[in-house]
Amino acid sequence: MNEVVLECKNLTKAFNTHSNGSGIRNFFVRKKKMFALKNISFSVRKGEIFGIIGPNGSGKSTLVRIIVNLLIPDSGYCMVKGMDVQKNEIEVRRLMNRVSVEASFFKKLSVMENLLYIGRLYNMKSDETRKRVEEIMKKLVFPVTYLEESVENLSRGMQQKVAVARAFMTQPELLLLDEPTTGLDPVSKRHVQEFIVYVRKRFETTILLCSHDMAEVEKICDRVAIIMKGEFVKVDTPERLKILVRGVENPTMEDVFIQLTGREWEKEVN
């Protein structure tokens, strides 16, 4: 068995919610806690693609943010290759990268200027950045002529591909993909999915993939966690998860999603 690359243990995170109003009046009102993650533990091995599916607001992005240390959990910890993401932050940061739903670039700068900037932060030489970006963009079928275009002139889907390039070009050992294909057309989506699989095979990259695309998860993930209100309700291979589905012939991951997240919901109502 491969070594464990990502280990999360007993992660809990709550946010303060302002249920009504804000400012001075709320200052004296005791703020309500809303749990985004409750005692989550799991580990991912080298070269594994670990999927996370769950309803909107169930805590997927919160989990990703904790792993990349943009968010500090209330309790629990995350280790990457045996290093604590908070205590060894610089070393660990070099090992990971992330793609998120929102592309987040300097809008007026060109695609290449944006990528050169990030490349420098990861101590990559300009030539190296250019070379890797061109290789990646070829695989994603992104026209190289657009590399000199300012980001604001790109469509959302194209920006998403640039975001994919930004994460992959640093050759991370651990990739955190938070809805990397949301907003892409079916063909582009396939290009990105094929690229993810290629990178895993070529570099043995460990990948965490949050997605709302059930077919995607079924196709490329080795194991899938189903998250509900900040808790993992089930973690297993797509095949074994499908066996759990009742009353449906030839169940899909969509059936898995509906039944496993629906059951919790029913409990709530009763």
């Binding site: 500090i72 940061r93 070099r94 992330r98 998120s100 007026k108 700068l109 050169l116 900037y117 990861y122």
Partner: protein, 265 residues
């Protein structure tokens, strides 16, 4: 990463910011015209008094203020800018220490401030008959360099504010800048200020910068005569920077606990 590669990585901020200047060039032109007109207007007020020393007095104030406030503004605004663009999470995820990130930002701010003030100085020299015959320019330069450290420190402290709150942070930084302008004797001696404002003058490092700059350039005082004041200003600057970085790190931790870095998704 070793120090050499960290310094190289911090160049990312210099390159990025100059690229941004290039892309927002028309705004850059607007700002420089604005600055020039501002300095010229103040210079002409001096000319109207018929006192040649007054022109120099006012132009020194305008230029020194220009330089220090640009540094303060560029450093404090760097975080704000990234919040607006939504890039802050990606910058903060990169394997570069906060100190080096701020170092890169500061290098850019000083370069930009020097270019900006240099252009303004050249134009001022064209318009006004500024005789610097009795001036001690070397002392003036030293005072300016030493003073920039305090303003870098203040800029980093002000950069903390947008870390805590996107909008209010930037507003607060502008207010701080305005108050420093009022109390530091940029265009008048602080003795004209009401008694109750003067304690603020004492706290502002710009007060000392301006007094010493004028001593050097108007009265020709030498480094030897002012070494104690220069030393104090230096100590304040050198103490302020690590202190500001310390508070910046605290604020970053606080923001990460409350989930304030995220914009959406």
């Amino acid at each position: 990463m070793d120090i050499a590669s960290e310094v190289r990585a911090s160049y990312a901020f210099v390159a990025r910011n100059f690229n941004l200047v290039k892309r927002y060039l028309s705004w850059e032109v607007v700002f420089i015209v604005f600055t020039l007109v501002n300095v010229l207007t103040i210079g002409f007020i001096g000319v109207a008094t018929g006192d040649k020393r007054m022109v120099l007095y006012l132009v020194i104030g305008a230029l020194v203020w220009r330089f220090l406030s640009v540094i303060f503004h560029e450093v404090s605004e760097s975080i704000q800018w990234e919040r607006w663009e939504g890039t802050i999470e990606y910058t903060f995820m990169a394997p570069i220490r906060r100190t080096m990130m701020l170092f890169g930002t500061v290098i850019y701010a000083v370069l930009y401030g020097t270019i900006n003030t240099g252009i303004t100085l050249i134009v001022a020299l064209l318009f006004f008959d500024l005789t610097l015959s009795g001036a001690n320019i070397l002392t003036g330069l030293l005072v300016l360099i030493i003073s920039s450290f305090s303003f870098i420190g203040l800029g980093i402290l002000a950069a903390i504010l947008p870390l805590m709150s996107t909008e209010r942070g930037s507003q607060a930084a502008h207010i701080i800048q305005a108050i420093v302008l009022l109390v530091s004797g940029v265009y008048y001696p602080i003795s004209v200020l009401p008694e109750w404002i003067r304690p603020l003058s004492v706290l502002s490092p710009a007060t000392y910068t301006l007094r010493m700059m004028r001593d050097a350039l108007l009265n020709g005082r030498s480094i030897g005569e002012m070494w104690f004041d220069i030393l104090i200003l230096g100590i304040v600057g050198f103490a302020l920077i690590p202190l500001a970085i310390f508070f910046f790190n605290l604020a970053e931790r606080h923001a990460k606990k409350l989930g304030k870095l995220k914009r959406s998704g």
